[in-house]
């Protein structure tokens, strides 16, 4: 296998390029599953490797990934590239430095199946170790479930269960949703075949980051336990429910249905996936529990029930905090500033438009016919030239010109943040803190890609005080669990001067405070640092927005802290009041000369008046804290601190 892989430079390159190009997570608008009625299969390709990044079909869609230009552009090009590859090798052979001939090599060159690739490169897909494999499996299933529900307009109701089977290192993951279900004919292909449907339905791009999907999880289970995966699905009341067990033929990348029966199922519609795998169950950081908690925060419209293995804690129920589905993100054509050369090449090859001008206008956002002509003029290309017949140098000139011409910023309606209120309420329902706030920045743009940053903050209460604050990172509602040190979010949090807001912060570190930060970057195209898509890249525009949002929350925490200090003071003031009451009544008695009985009455009345004033003060501070959480109180708070 290994030898084969080496002899297939084109393929391996493609696979690693998929990583290098760091395909972004698209917004939730992109759905894996079609609306109710079941998943439609895409035009099936041969058993061949169809990496989503390579697909030409999505090019004019919302979020085409960006492979570097030197990438063989289409399957047809592959033969050529291979042919080219032979010539130099033959030459080297003539030097006598290598023994293999091109012919001999050609004889060994053949397609590898994705499944085979997976077995060798499982770390790329999030299965590097047993603990991570468990998390990745849950994650893939949950991402799919949420996407399916949202696509069908159903408020997601998820149940995740993990049970230990046969000894220490085997677990069964069961994830059930109340989505639209899957028509029986599709079940095997969707779950039993890697990369199925990815071209048309952005299977992995919907929420997922690293996965080639649920089928990869199934394959991992199959490889480590030999057990098939079990799917139960039902598309509606009055329709039958099916239970299907399948395995994946790792050579052919084909599903193999082992059993298929109609069953009674207590749920009207939905899908349940069950995978058994070798895994390590752990708690605390990067655990399934923590992951689901974060999913709940970023998806306040979802209800999630989690049942951990026996002896690993109580079941957790994350109730939804809103009954409304997030608005569907609008699709956006690529903005010229964000398009890479390789992508432009492919877009022009596959455009439906005849002329370059029409292609620019049709396939890009913010390009009017006048702007298109301007771009052509700068590039020195006739606007009427045939779009798919441009020479590579011409495309390069066009690409350069696109960056030079002044354009409107891209439309921002395609980015859907969680929203300040929901983010805050999400935190409120997960943490027993004293203070919650959130800030959603207005949309901003990096390299032609609109994005929105939002920060939710929980402070005090049960949150551990002596530790660095917890930073939850999200990209398009998906929690990021690994590589936090490499992430722009972490950098932004450490860069903010939290000391200014009254929180201790060792130099270059996270603040030490009973605080949880939930930081969400939503974008048509979230840029990641690497193939594993676990850390957001350090674009200055993104860092800037992150810091602004964090600072806004920081200011509110500072206001809260000063208000709380006053509240505590007010509490202490009971004793304080008692100290001065005798002086007031004593001085009055000295001036007015009344008797002892009158003095007792005076003291009693004073106690009443001052205690009432203390309670009023306390309430005012509480009101102020409440208004600070939403940001409404900012002006009032500042006035108060001036006074």
């Amino acid at each position: 296998m290994e030898a084969l892989a080496k002899k297939k430079p084109g393929k391996i390159e493609q696979l690693s390029l998929m990583g290098d190009a760091a395909p972004p997570v698209p917004p939730v608008a992109s759905r894996r599953r079609p609306p109710a009625g079941g998943r439609q299969p895409p035009a099936a390709k041969k058993g061949e490797l169809q990496l989503p990044v390579m697909g030409p079909v999505e090019l004019s869609g919302t979020k085409p990934p960006a492979p570097p230009p030197e990438l063989p552009a289409a399957p047809e090009a592959e033969a050529e590239s291979r042919a080219e590859a032979r010539a130099p090798r033959a030459g080297r052979n003539a030097d006598g430095r290598r023994r293999a001939t091109a012919e001999a090599m050609a004889a060994r060159q053949r397609d590898i199946s994705v499944a085979e690739f997976f077995t060798k490169n499982r770390h790329l897909l999030g299965f590097d170790n047993p603990a991570k494999a468990l998390l990745t499996t849950v994650k893939e299933a949950v991402d799919n479930a949420l996407d399916a529900c949202e696509e069908a307009g159903i408020l997601p109701d998820l149940e995740v269960a993990i049970t230990q089977v046969n000894g220490d290192d085997r677990y069964r993951v069961t994830v059930r949703d109340n989505g639209p279900g899957i028509v029986k004919a599709q079940i095997a292909r969707i779950f039993g075949k890697l990369l199925y449907g990815s071209k048309f339905h952005s299977f992995k791009q919907a929420r997922g980051q690293q996965g080639i999907g649920i089928s990869a999880a199934g394959m991992y289970g199959q490889l480590t336990t030999g057990r098939p995966m079990t799917i139960i699905s039902r598309t509606g009341k009055g329709k039958p429910a099916f239970r299907v067990t399948l395995r994946i033929d790792t050579q052919k990348n084909q599903p193999e249905t082992l059993s298929d029966e109609q069953i009674d199922w207590e749920f009207d519609h939905g899908t349940q996936v069950e995978i058994e795998l070798a895994a390590v169950y752990r708690r605390g950081s990067r655990s399934v529990e923590e992951y689901l908690q974060q999913v709940a925060i970023a998806n306040p419209h979802a209800r999630i029930v989690y049942r951990p293995p026996a002896g690993q804690g109580e079941a957790a129920i994350y109730e939804r905090v809103t009954e409304e589905l997030p608005p569907e993100a609008k699709e956006m054509k690529p903005h010229p500033y964000g398009v890479e050369l390789g992508m432009l090449l492919k877009m022009l090859l596959s455009t439906k438009s005849r002329t370059v001008r029409a292609a620019l206008v049709q396939d890009f956002s913010r390009v009017s016919p006048r702007v298109a002509e301007e771009i052509c003029a700068v590039a020195g290309i006739k606007p009427e030239a045939r779009a798919n017949r441009l020479a590579p140098e011409e495309v390069e000139a066009l690409h350069k010109a696109m960056q030079q011409v002044k354009l409107l910023a891209p439309p921002t309606a395609c980015v859907v943040p969680i929203g300040e209120e929901l983010l805050r309420r999400g935190l409120e329902s997960r943490f027993r803190g004293e203070f919650f706030t959130s800030a959603t920045r207005p949309p901003a743009v990096y390299r032609g890609n609109p994005f929105v940053v939002e920060v939710g903050l929980a402070y005090g209460g049960d949150i551990p005080a002596e530790e660095p604050c917890e930073v939850m990172r999200f990209a398009n509602r998906v929690p990021l669990q690994y590589q936090k040190g490499a992430c722009a979010i972490t950098e932004a949090v450490t860069d903010v001067a939290w000391r200014n807001y009254g929180l201790p912060q060792p130099r270059g570190s996270l603040p030490i405070a009973p605080m949880v930060l939930a930081v969400h970057v939503a974008s048509v195209w979230v840029p990641f640092t690497s193939e594993s898509k676990e850390a957001i890249a350090h674009y200055p525009e993104i860092l800037r927005e992150l810091k602004l949002a964090l600072q806004e929350c920081g200011r509110r925490v500072a206001l809260f802290l000063s208000a709380r200090r006053r509240a505590i003071d007010a509490g202490k003031k009971r004793a304080y009041i008692q100290k001065y009451i005798p002086h007031i009544s004593g001085a009055l008695r000295e001036i007015l000369g009344y008797g002892e009985a009158k003095e007792r009455e005076t003291v009693e009345c004073l106690e009443y008046v001052l205690e009432r004033s203390r309670l009023e003060g306390l309430k005012a501070v509480e009101d102020e804290i409440a208004s600070t959480e939403t940001g409404d109180g900012e002006a009032a708070g500042e006035e108060a601190s001036d006074a």
């Binding site: 007010a570 003031k573 304080y576 009041i577 100290k579 001065y580 009451i581 002086h583 007031i584 004593g586 001085a587 009055l588 000295e590 001036i591 007015l592 009455e601 005076t602 009345c605 004073l606 009443y608 008046v609 001052l610 004033s613 203390r614 003060g617």
Partner: protein, 362 residues
Amino acid sequence: MPDRTMVQAIRKAAQGVHDKILARRKPNLKFPLRSLQNVRYRPSVGFFELLGRMKERTLTVGTVKTFAQTLRMMALSKNLVETDDIATKREAYYVSKNWGEARFDEQPESDQVMEDIEALFRVNREQIGFIPEEKGGEVAGKLTVIDKDRDSGKTLKIDCTKFGSGAYSIPISVEDLGFQTDARFILAIETAGMFQRLVKHNYWKQANCILVSMGGVPTRACRRFIRRLSDEKKIPVYVFVDCDPYGIANIYRTLKVGSGNAAHVNEFFCVPKATFLGITPQDILDYKLPTHPLKDVDIKRAADAVKNDPFIQHHKAWQDAFSKLVKMGVRAEQQALAKHGLNYVIDEYLPQKLAHPERFLP
């Protein structure tokens, strides 16, 4: 002789507070706001007049300590008035050390409360038994002060020409003093150094005048002394200070029209007739005086005076003088005249200026 009306006023205020408390409502005390924002310059009477803005001290958790201190201070004051005793500001501060938790930690706190009470009753602090620590200023020249011997009650005549190289000290209370003089004018001087020079050379003899050393911003007693003297003897008052925003806007202005802080008693503690002899910004040019650059704080004070001081705002001549000074960017001290000779001020500067009192700044 206890001041019955004062005692009654204190009782009345205390009664109001007590009634509110017994009605289980928050008692409050209202004080006139003592600041330049709450005064108006009335040219017809010639001093800063208090406007109606009040600050209210309502008894709440936050104000309980100050409220207790205010009442304690009122009680002390009533006591002083009833026994015809006095306490200096510093003494009052020490008395408060008996008040346990309600004591003052620093004297400025007790001074504040004292001045609040003073303003509350719109009286001079001497009337409520408190006297300042500060010296009232010094006098030398053609003046006989008529005072009484404390023990015998016999009239004392104090001849201010007979202090040699020393001077007569203005007492804290000047209300009962009488004056005899045939001097032509009163010269109020900012610094003790300049006063000493003029006394040493018996300038008062040569100019037939009364010299008063203010030692910075004149105290209330000093203002009152000059006021009564100039009113009763109908003699003009000329002011001789440094040419800088402090000399003009603080020393001269306070002498002439009073201060924001003591607005409730300005009527008595000001000298509306005073005029400004020097040193003027023009003098710096005319006499080619050595100067120092204006400090940031000077520039700020000048801007503040032009913007917020009702007296400076009223007089175009002062507005112009300030803008000239700021434009020149320098200040000059009285002693700068020594550049032309130590006695230049006696031989040349003052005679030249006094030849044209009509040219003095208002």
